[in-house]
Structure formats: C-alpha cells, structure tokens
Amino acid sequence: MIPTSWFLILSAILFTIGVCGFLTRKNGITMFMCVELMVNAVNLTFLAYARQFHQLHGLIFVFFVMAIAAAEAAVGLAIFISLFHHRETIDVDEANLMRW
Amino acid sequence: MTFDRVDVVLEIVKIALIVGLLLNVVPIMVWVERRGSALIQDRLGPNRVGPFGLIQSMADALKFILKEDVIPLQAHKWLYTIAPMFGLIPAMTTIAVVPWGRPFFIPTEIVYGPRVSGVCIIGAAILAILAIVLGGATAKYHRKPNYSKLNFTIGAIVAVSLFLGALALIGIMLGIKTAGAVHLPGGGRLFEPIIADVNVGILLIFALASLGVYGIVTAGWASSNKFSLFGGIRASAQMISYELSLALAAVSALMVAGSLRLTDIVTRQTGYFVLADTVKIPAWNCFSPAMWLSMIVFVVSAFAETNRLPFDFAEAEAELVAGYHTEYSSMKFAMFFMSEYIAMTTMSALVVTLFFGGWDVPWYNEPATVTGFLLSAIAFLAKVSFLLFVFVWVRWTIPRLKYDILMKIGWKVFLPLAVANIVLVAWFIAARWI
C-alpha cells in the first residue's frame, strides 16, 4: 500500500505548480487552467484523507467540488469571452478599468 | 493482487486476440461498406481486385502505406501528428471492459488419440474437396471472355494451399501413433473472457468515449485550415451533446441489472421470460417493453457518437470537403478511418452487451466448458456483425441531418426522452414489473 503522505506530497507539488503559474502568467485562460490544477490538487488531498480514515465524506466532497468546478469553468469562460469581445485581448493586466 | 505467470500469459493472449480482432474488423468493414452500399444503390461495387472484390481492402492498405505523407506548412507539427492517435486510443481501449464469451474452466489436460486422428481425416477430406472445387471454379473463370488474370491467380494459389493443408493434416494423423494427454499449465482455472472486469465497467466506457472528442478537435485545429476547424468544432459539439443521452439511456439497463459491471448486466440477461406459462423467450433487454425507449435512444446516440450518418455533418463529403480530416493523407488518414470503424465496433459491442444479451446463446444454457465458450463467443460475434451491418444499412438509407436540427434534437428530444426513460424504468422496478 502506498503511504498517504506520498499522495499529499504529490498534491502539494501540483498545488505549488498551480500557484506558480497563476502568479507568473498573464494569459487569462492559462491562469484559469492553473486554478483548475490547484482545485484538482485539493481533490487529491481529500481523497487521500478519505482513504486514510475510511470515510465516505471525502469522496462526496470531491464529487461536489467537481460539479461546482464545472459550473465555475462555464461561467468563467463566458466572462472571458465577453472580456475578449470588449478588449480584443486576454491579457488580464489590460482589464483595469476599475482600478484606482 | 496476486497473480502468477499463467495469469499474465492468459491476459496477453486475450489482449492479442481482441486487438487482432479489432484491427482486422477495419478491412472487412471497408469491404462490407462498399459492397453493401453498392447493393443498396443497385450497382456493382468493387469486383476487380479479387473474387467479389475481397482483396480491395488489402489494395487500399497498400495505397495508404505507400502514399506520401504531407504535412501542411502552417500546421502545428506535433499536434497534427498525434491527433489521429488521440482518436484511435479511446476506440481501442474501451473494448477492454466488454465481456465477449462465457467464463469457463480450462481443462486440465487435452487428450489425443483416435478422436484427433478422426478429426484430421475429416478436415483433410473437406480441404481437399474445397481445393478441387475452387480450382475448377477458377479454371472456368479463366475461360470467360472478360476474365481477370489476378482472380485466376488468387484462386489457384488458394486452391494449392488448401490441398497442401489437407496433406499436412494427413501427415499429422499418421504421426499420432498412440493415445496420450498433454497437461495444460493453467488447468482448472476460470478463464474469464474479458480483459478487465472492472467494478465500474460502464463508467470507464463513457470516460474513454468522452476522450474521443480530443482527436477530432485537435485534428481540426492543428490543420490550420478553416474548413477543418469548423468541421472539428461541429463534430466535437455534436459528440459531447449526444454523450449525455448515451449515458442516461444506458442507465436504465444498469438499473435493471443493479450493478455497473458489464458481466453482471450480461448475466442478468441469461434467464428467460415465460409468456403465458408456455413460450420461453430469452431475457434479453430488447425483449422487455420498458427498455424499448432506452434502446432507441441509445442506438441513435451511438450513431451520433461515432459520427455516422445520419449524424455525420462534421465530415460531410459534399459540404465541408472532408471536415476535420481534410489535410490528412496516407497513414494518418488511415488511422482516422480505422478509429471510426473501431469506434463503430465498440459501440455495437456495447449495444449488444446492454440490450441484446451479450454472449448469451438464445434458448441454450451454455455449460462452463470450452464448447460453451466457443458457442457464446460465436453468438457475440454474430450479434456484433449484425449491428455493424445495420450501421452500414442506415448510412445508405437515411439522408443526413442538418447541423442545427441535429443539435436541436440532441438537446431537446433525446435528452428529455432519456431522463423520462429513467423515471419510467424506476417506476417499473418499484412496481416489481421487471
């Protein structure tokens, strides 16, 4: 059996890669994909602990996280589409109308 | 997970068998498609390259291998090259969870003796008679006014090889002098003719089928051709729309069986319905009225999933040049071709497993022996072949649906029907009518 800590370390590595991509890229779609990567890393953590303590609650939580991530992806991409139509660019630094 | 060498060898044999079968279905289906369409359209079809055009598929394969492989200058080279593989992999891996025969106990030893030599004599006699008949038939063909030299040559070669086979069998028969037994290393085990009997079998099929979208959309984009992109986007939008009704229509068969495992679904269909205490019909899901709606929805969604007519607007020959595989040539195009036929075979196998009783031979309780297994495998193959013929038949009978109508009925007709069907079957199960 594979120790739980290995899965947690893998999840930490994926989460870190997601954070790194989110902070260093300016492409809106890439940033969104890094957010999805972070959410998946957290899913892996939930499942690792669910197996550790033999509880189904982790699984159910992952189930709901997947459904909500699907909804979030749909709405987020719709926002990007409308942003692109107004600005002709997906550089998120250009979306600064409401900045001071 | 404990397994030993015999398990590994059996698994490899199963995989080789199924992969070989899938890869060989493609040339056979090409022939069936061309001759079948010719039959329906009242014309001849290929008949030059071998008796009844049977060698045409080999000629096509040779053409594909020898053609020049062109990569357009603007195309994204990596994605252009691996896009056909994205299409082929889901089609070939989904067959791993489909049961194709009855589980049986491997005999501990094979006995040979007078029985085997009897079989050899009969086999040799049959082969010799076939050789003589074939030789005579092709000789007559040689004298016809429009004879084809290739046909005559092929007929002569096959006749000679059959005769040599007969001679070999007689040699084997003479070589077996005394009776004896060969001990099989894997004797006594239960051989389950399914590559991977997963707990969540049918979900795996839906998962891998939904990965088939990537081949099309990547091919369409990587070709950097507006027709290909358009065709690719259309095809993938259609596929993801009909995946929903496919999955929901299959749920009704799952509810009746009470399990996600495909072997459980087939085992549930091996019984009998008894009508009026006299007539016994096999308990296949296609014979129970509650499942008719789900069967129709599933079969139609299977047509849409594999991009076959009446749902093939994405690769419509007359409208979009060739859709997402416009820019592909030689082996890559052949891989798209292959992936379409293999996906058709997998979908037919799934329809057979869910609704037509899988490997169940009707009205016969197959015993758990080699004979029972062979009969069940032949029954499975026969059912899948019939469904593949239905695919070809529908292609050349029904006209193509326009794209917006296709999407509209996918979302507004088939999805509500599939959901309503779940409610219906649930009601039937609760009322104990199933």
């Binding site: 890669i17 890094c34 669910a50 609650h57 | 993801i240």
Partner: protein, 195 residues
C-alpha cells in the same frame, strides 16, 4: 511493487504535464497537457480505492471542462493573440514565492504526516456513494443542481453579444450582425488568414 511503479510513473506524468501548462507559450498545447495531467490524476484516484471518482474525473474534468476550454481557445482564435512577456520582477517574485511556499509545504508534510493505514478495504463503490448522496447529502445535491442551472443561465447571458433576445417590432430591420462576425471566429479577415 507494481503499485509503486504505477504511482511513480503517473505522478511523474502529472507533474511534467502540469509544468508544460505553466511554461509553454501556446495555449492549446497547455490545455491538452492539462488533459493529460488530469488523466494521470484519475489513475491516482484509482490507486486511492476510488474508481468511481476516477471515472468521474475523466468524464467531467478531462472530457467536458477541458473540451469547453479548448472550444473557447479555438473559437476566439487565442493562439494568435500574443501574450506580452511578464515583467521580470513579477516573474522573479512569482517563482521565488511559489518555490518557498512549495518547499515549506512539502517539508511540513513529510515531517508531520506519518500515518498508519487502517486495515481492511475501503468500500467506496457506486452503491455506497449513492446511498450517501441521497441520504446524508441530499440537500447539497439539490443545491448543486440549482447552482448548475444558474451557471447555465449565467454563461448564456454573459457570452451573448448584444442582448440575448432582441425584441423586434414589425417592419424593423433585424439587428446587424456583430462586426467581428463569423469570419473572425474562423481565423479569417477580409484580406486573408490571420498570421
């Protein structure tokens, strides 16, 4: 033995393709690498005794959400819109900050999570999940369905160009097509293909 080999292989695939996502310039390649990463994660879920969720991960994430991403990227022709390079200070701070965060996280995980696995199999098949969903978690289940409905309506409204249903009086001209019409979505302008 085989489990460890499978774990390392697919963990390597997940990490390598995640790195491709954040480092490659082309967005489509990034999206496809993310699909590969999700597939490797699904294998991880199988190793964690959750085959149902592994299949769901492939169906929902790799098979639907990423297809949506790819559609948006391809229809908006985003690979031709060049992304300006990030400023060096932002890059440095981003890499350094996330590296520090990652190393600290892994260090504390290695130090403090030495857990014993309880014996026995973990029963996580479809039946158990179904029972839990419809008994203990029925309220979140229904709420998620309403949330998905809200997401569908929201996505439709946000991505429509000039109002969703323009009301038209009789005898009036239908509204003109958007200036960046269907040609642009195919990567073509009046002069020819975009570079």
């Amino acid at each position: 033995m085989i489990e460890f080999a499978v774990f390392f292989f697919f963990a390597a695939i997940a990490v390598i393709f995640a790195l491709v996502v954040i480092l490659h310039r082309n967005t489509v390649v990034g999206a496809l690498s993310l699909v590969a990463s999700f597939f490797a994660l699904a294998v991880m879920y199988v190793l964690l005794d959750a085959p149902f969720l592994a299949a769901l991960q492939v169906i929902v994430y790799a098979g639907a959400i990423m297809v949506l991403f790819l559609f948006v990227i391809m229809l908006l022709n985003l690979q031709h819109v060049s992304e300006p390079a990030t400023r060096p200070i932002q890059q440095f701070l981003g890499y350094a900050g996330s590296a520090f965060f990652g190393i600290a996280l892994v260090y504390y995980l290695v130090k403090y999570t030495v857990l014993q696995l309880p014996p026995g199999p973990f029963l996580s098949d479809a039946r158990a999940i179904g029972v839990a969903l419809f008994e203990a978690y029925i309220f979140p289940f229904e709420m998620v369905s309403i949330l998905l409905l809200a997401a569908i309506v929201g996505a439709l409204l946000l991505s429509a160009r000039r109002g969703v249903i323009p009301s038209r009086k009789d005898g009036e001209e239908p509204p003109a097509r958007a200036t960046r019409g269907s040609l642009a979505t195919l990567g073509m302008t009046e002069e020819g293909p975009l570079p």
